[in-house]
C-alpha cells in the first residue's frame, strides 16, 4: 500500500494514501478524545464539543462551513466514540485545500458562542431522546454501566441526561482547549492527490499551530470482574431482547486476532474488527443455536478495537413465546462447547476467507480508506491495519480455544435482559 506517514514538528501525525480510482479526496482529522476522557458530571462532553465545532469560527462561520463543502458537491461530518472525535470532508480532489483550511482553523478557533451552546443543548438532548426510543439502546446502556464500574467506557458517548442538562459553556470550552491540538491529533487523507503536494499543503495550514502543553491522561483501569453480573430493563417495546458482554483486551493485545476468529465462528464475519455489517451469519454457531432453533429472530456480535480493554457483545431479539433466559441458555451452551473443543479446520479457514473479503470491501471507497488509516492510528497505528490479515492468518484453532477460555468465562460476563411489559389490555 502506497503510504506516506510522518509527524510534523508540532506533533501532528500525518498519514496519506494516494489512490487514483476516482477524482475524490477524503480528509480526516482525528482527536484522541472521546467518552474515555470523561467522568461523571461531564459525560457526553466530547460529543457535544463535536457538535459545537460545526457552529463556526471567525473565518468559517457556521453556514459558510456547511455550504462551502456542499457547493462543491462534497460532504462533511463527524463522529465521536470511546477513544476519538473525528471530522471529515470528502470532496472533489481539486478542492482538498478547503478541507485543510477548515480543519486547521477549527482546531483552535472554534467560537463556542453562548447562544449556540444554548440552542445545541436541546438538539443534543433530542438526540439522546431519539436513542432512548430504541429499546436496545436502553439495554446496552445498562449493560455497559454494569460491566464497567471504574472505567469511563461504562457510559455511552451521548452522555447522561443530567449532565447534558447542567454542563456549561465553560465546561465545553475547557474540554476543547484541553484536547484539541496538533500533538493530540492525526490527519489521515486518501484520494486522488500527490502525497508530496498534499504534505506541503498540510504543513502550510496546520504547521503553525502550537502544540498543547499538557494533555490530560486517563488513569482509570477496570479491575478484573470477579463474578457474573446481571441487569434487567423493563419497557414497552413489545419484544424482548438479550445482550451479553465479556470483558476483552485492548486492540493492541496479541489475543485480539484470535478473538476475531472466535467471534466469526460464533456469530459471523460482520462482527469482526474490520469491515462490519455486510455479510449474513446464517451458518454461524449462534445463528444455528438460537435462530434456526426458533428461539430468536436474529443474533449478532461485535468486537470493537479500542485503546483500553472493552467488551465483546452478543445481542439477540427474542421471539414471542420465548424468553431472554431461554436464548441465554442456548448461547451459554454454545460458549461451553467452544471452550471445551477446538474449532474445526474448515471453520478456521472460513473465518479467514471472510476476513479477507471484508478487508477488500473495506478498502473500496476512498472515504473508508482514510477512515481506516486514521482509526487504526487512534488505537494502535497504521501497521495494525496493514498487518491485520497477516495476523489473522497466523491464528490457530488452539489460539481460539485458549482465548475462549481466557475471556468467555462466566465470572467475566455481564448479562442484560430487556423485558417487554406491554400488555394488550
Amino acid at each position: 500500500m502506497n503510504l506516506l506517514k510522518t509527524t510534523l514538528e508540532n506533533g501532528l501525525t500525518v498519514v496519506l494514501r494516494e489512490t487514483h480510482s476516482a477524482p475524490v479526496t477524503s480528509v480526516w482529522v482525528w482527536y484522541r478524545v472521546g467518552s474515555r476522557n470523561e467522568h461523571l458530571g461531564i459525560t457526553g462532553i466530547s460529543h457535544w464539543v463535536e457538535h459545537m465545532m460545526f457552529k463556526g469560527t471567525e473565518r468559517w462561520p457556521r453556514q459558510k462551513l456547511d455550504q462551502s463543502i456542499a457547493r462543491e458537491g462534497g460532504y462533511l461530518n463527524a463522529m465521536t466514540w470511546y477513544d476519538f472525535t473525528a471530522y471529515f470532508e470528502t470532496l472533489p480532489s481539486a478542492k482538498a485545500y478547503m478541507a485543510l483550511d477548515i480543519e486547521s482553523d477549527r482546531m483552535t478557533n472554534a467560537l463556542f458562542d453562548p447562544d449556540e451552546v444554548a440552542a445545541e443543548r436541546t438538539v443534543i438532548i433530542s438526540e439522546r431522546q431519539g436513542n432512548e426510543n430504541d429499546p436496545t439502546f436502553l439495554l446496552d446502556e445498562e449493560l455497559s454501566g454494569a460491566a464497567f464500574r471504574v472505567h469511563p467506557y461504562g457510559h455511552d458517548t451521548i452522555g447522561h441526561l443530567c449532565d447534558l442538562q447542567t454542563m456549561t459553556r465553560e465546561d465545553l470550552y475547557t474540554h476543547y482547549r484541553s484536547y484539541y491540538g496538533p500533538n493530540n491529533a492525526i490527519l489521515a487523507a486518501a484520494g486522488d492527490f500527490n502525497a508530496g503536494e498534499m504534505l506541503r499543503m498540510i504543513e502550510s495550514t496546520f504547521g503553525r499551530i502550537a502544540p498543547r502543553n499538557t494533555l490530560p491522561q486517563v488513569m482509570a483501569q477496570e479491575p478484573p470482574q470477579k463474578g457474573e453480573r446481571r441487569v434487567t430493563v423493563e419497557g414497552d417495546a413489545g419484544v424482548d431482547y438479550l445482550a451479553m458482554a465479556f470483558h476483552t483486551p485492548e486492540a493492541t493485545h496479541p489475543d485480539i486476532h484470535a478473538l476475531t476468529v472466535l467471534s466469526t465462528v460464533l456469530a459471523g464475519g460482520s462482527g469482526s474488527l474490520v469491515g462490519r455489517g455486510s455479510l449474513t451469519n446464517y451458518t454461524s454457531r449462534l445463528y444455528r443455536a438460537v435462530v434456526q432453533s426458533q428461539l430468536a429472530a436474529d443474533v449478532s456480535a461485535s468486537l470493537i478495537p479500542t485503546v483500553d480493554p472493552n467488551l465483546y457483545r452478543i445481542s439477540a431479539t427474542v421471539l414471542p413465546e420465548h424468553s431472554p433466559a431461554e436464548v441465554e441458555n442456548a448461547i451459554r451452551t454454545e460458549i461451553d462447547e467452544i471452550r471445551r473443543n477446538p474449532i474445526t479446520a474448515e471453520e478456521l479457514a472460513k473465518a479467514k476467507r471472510q476476513a479477507r473479503a471484508l478487508f477488500a470491501f473495506s478498502s473500496e471507497s476512498i472515504t473508508n480508506q482514510a477512515f481506516w488509516l486514521g482509526f487504526s492510528e487512534i488505537f494502535a497505528d497504521t501497521s495494525w491495519f496493514l498487518r491485520y490479515l497477516e495476523k489473522l492468518e497466523a491464528v490457530t484453532a488452539e489460539d481460539v480455544l485458549r482465548v475462549a477460555n481466557t475471556y468467555m468465562r462466566p465470572q467475566n460476563l455481564t448479562v442484560g435482559h430487556y423485558l417487554s411489559n406491554y400488555s394488550e389490555e
Binding site: T19, H20, S21, A22, P23, V24, F54, Q63, D66, Q67, A70, R71, G73, G74, Y75, L91, P92, S93, A118, E120, R121, T122, V123, I125, S126, E127, Q129, G130, E132, N133, D192, N194, G235, D236, A237, G238, V239, G268, G269, S278, L279, T280, N281, Y282, T283, Q294, A297, D298, T317, L319, P320, K350, R353, Q354, A357, L358, A360, F361, E364, S365
Partner: protein
C-alpha cells in the same frame, strides 16, 4: 490537484444488451479493487399482492431466499458465506431488488445463486414457518417504533384505501399469519419471470465476460408475467389531515409531514429534486435544518425527502422532536414551504444547490455499489445511458421560477398529511 480524470459511466464504457427472454444486462469494468457487485431487479412487488393477501410478494421472496431444490437453507448460505460473499433480495411496491457482492472470481457462483433462488425455490414448510416467525417479530418491533408508526400514519392519510402506496409492503400480522404455502407457490409461478428483469454488474470483471456469464446462466429461463393495471388515482389533499399514534414510555416524538409527490417520470422531476435539495438537503439539511435545528434547537434530525419512483410516491419533511415542540416544528416547516412557494430562491442559493447536485455525482459513483445502483436506476426510468453526461446541463437549465412552480404545484401548506407518533402525556400541553 486531481491527477486523474475518471469519466462518468456512460455509453463509452457501459455494455448494455437485452437478452431474447427480456433480461437487460449492464456491465462496467473497474479493476481498482478485486471485488464485484451485482445490482438488479425483477418486475414483482406488493402492487401484485391480491387484495386480501397484503405482504404476499415480500413474504414469497423472504421464503425464496431460504432455500432451493438443489440448495437447502444451510447449503445455500454455506456456499456464499464460506467465501465471504453476500447476496440478498428486497421487495418494494413495484419491483423486487436483488444484489450480491464478492471477490471477482465469485461472479459465476453469485449469479448462479441468484438464478437458483429466482427459479427453483423450495418453499419448504419449515422455512415458511421460520420466515413467518421472524417477520412477525419484526412487525411487532415496528408497532412500537415511533418512526415507523409516524410513517404508516402519513401513508394512511395520504393514499386512498386499496392503493398500493397505502398498503404495507411487508403485510400486517393478520395477513402474514394467514399466508399458505400454496399462496407463495402461486405468486412465484405467476410473477417471478425474466421479463423486464435488469441486472447490472460492476467490478473487476471484463464487461463481455460478465455478459456471457449472465447469458449462460439465465438464457434458458422463459416466461412472461401478467400485465399490471394502472395505479389508482391519488386525489390531491384538500385539508390538513393529522393522525397521532401514542406510544407510552417513549421520550421523543417523530413526525412525517407531506404530500403525494411527482413520479420519477414527471417532466418537472428534476425541478422538484432541486426544490427538495434547497428545502431539506443542502448543507446541514437545507432550509429546514437551518430553521428547525440550528436557529431553534428543536430537533436532532430534520430533513426532506422526495421519493420519485414509478408513481406518486411521497414528498415529505421528517423530524424527531421533543413532544412539547411538535406544533412549533410543524409551524416552522410550513413557513419554509410557504417561502419556497411565495419567494423566488435567491440566485446564490439556487446556484449552491445546483452545484451540490452536479458536484456530488463523482462521490455517489465512488464505489461499485454506487455505479451499479445508478445504472439500474437509469435503466428503470429509461433515462438513457448518456444520462450522467447530460445531467449537469439539465440541472443548469432549471430556473428559480421552475423551482417555485414545482413547489406551488406539489407542496400545499394548507392541505397536507401529518403522521405523528410519540409519548401521549406531553402532547399539546
Amino acid at each position: 490537484m486531481g491527477r486523474n480524470k475518471v469519466a462518468l459511466p456512460g455509453p463509452g464504457d457501459v455494455l448494455r444488451q437485452m437478452l431474447p427472454n427480456g433480461i437487460t444486462v449492464l456491465a462496467r469494468e473497474n479493476f481498482i479493487s478485486p471485488s464485484v457487485v451485482i445490482d438488479g431487479y425483477l418486475i414483482s412487488g406488493s402492487e401484485d399482492d391480491p387484495a386480501e393477501r397484503e405482504g404476499l410478494a415480500s413474504f414469497t421472496v423472504d421464503v425464496m431466499e431460504r432455500g432451493t431444490h438443489q440448495r437447502p437453507f444451510e447449503q445455500l448460505y454455506e456456499e456464499v458465506e464460506s467465501v465471504g460473499a453476500a447476496f440478498g433480495f428486497s421487495t418494494g411496491v413495484h419491483i423486487t431488488s436483488f444484489g450480491a457482492k464478492g471477490l471477482a472470481e465469485q461472479l459465476p457462483l453469485l449469479l448462479e445463486i441468484c438464478n437458483d433462488v429466482m427459479r427453483n425455490p423450495a418453499f419448504a414448510p419449515e422455512q415458511i414457518e421460520h420466515a413467518r416467525a421472524e417477520l412477525l417479530s419484526t412487525l411487532r418491533e415496528q408497532e412500537f417504533d415511533t418512526r415507523t408508526r409516524a410513517a404508516h400514519a402519513f401513508h394512511e392519510l395520504t393514499y386512498p384505501i386499496g392503493h398500493p402506496y397505502r398498503r404495507r409492503v411487508t403485510g400486517t400480522p393478520d395477513t402474514i399469519a394467514q399466508l399458505k404455502e400454496a399462496d407463495l407457490r402461486a405468486f412465484h409461478e405467476r410473477n417471478i419471470t425474466p421479463r423486464g428483469m435488469v441486472i447490472a454488474i460492476v467490478g473487476a470483471v471484463k464487461a463481455q465476460a460478465a455478459l456471457e456469464t449472465v447469458q449462460n446462466i439465465f438464457r434458458d429461463w422463459e416466461g412472461d408475467r401478467p400485465a399490471r393495471p394502472a395505479l389508482p388515482e391519488v386525489p390531491a389533499l384538500t385539508e390538513r389531515r393529522e393522525q397521532y399514534v401514542p406510544l407510552p414510555e417513549k421520550t421523543q416524538t417523530d413526525l412525517v409531514l407531506g404530500w403525494p409527490g411527482p413520479s420519477r417520470r414527471s417532466p418537472d422531476f428534476l425541478a422538484c429534486q432541486l426544490a427538495n435539495t434547497i428545502l431539506g438537503v443542502f448543507g446541514m439539511m437545507g432550509r429546514l435544518g437551518e430553521q428547525v435545528r440550528s436557529q431553534n434547537g428543536l430537533a436532532y434530525y430534520v430533513y426532506s425527502s422526495l421519493e420519485g419512483g414509478a408513481g406518486p410516491g411521497p414528498w415529505q419533511a421528517i423530524a424527531g422532536v421533543h413532544p412539547l415542540q411538535v406544533e412549533k416544528t410543524v409551524a416552522l416547516i410550513l413557513d419554509e414551504i410557504r417561502r419556497l412557494r411565495d419567494e423566488a430562491v435567491p440566485a446564490m442559493e439556487l446556484e449552491d444547490s445546483k452545484s451540490y447536485l452536479t458536484g456530488s455525482l463523482p462521490l455517489r459513483l465512488e464505489t461499485n455499489e454506487g455505479v451499479a445502483g445508478t445504472l439500474t436506476h437509469i435503466e428503470r426510468y429509461d433515462l438513457g445511458l448518456d444520462y450522467l453526461q447530460r445531467y449537469q446541463e439539465r440541472i443548469r437549465a432549471i430556473s428559480a421560477l421552475d423551482v417555485q412552480t414545482a413547489a406551488r404545484r406539489w407542496l400545499n401548506p394548507e392541505a397536507f398529511a401529518l403522521g405523528i407518533s410519540g409519548p401521549p402525556q406531553k402532547l399539546n400541553p
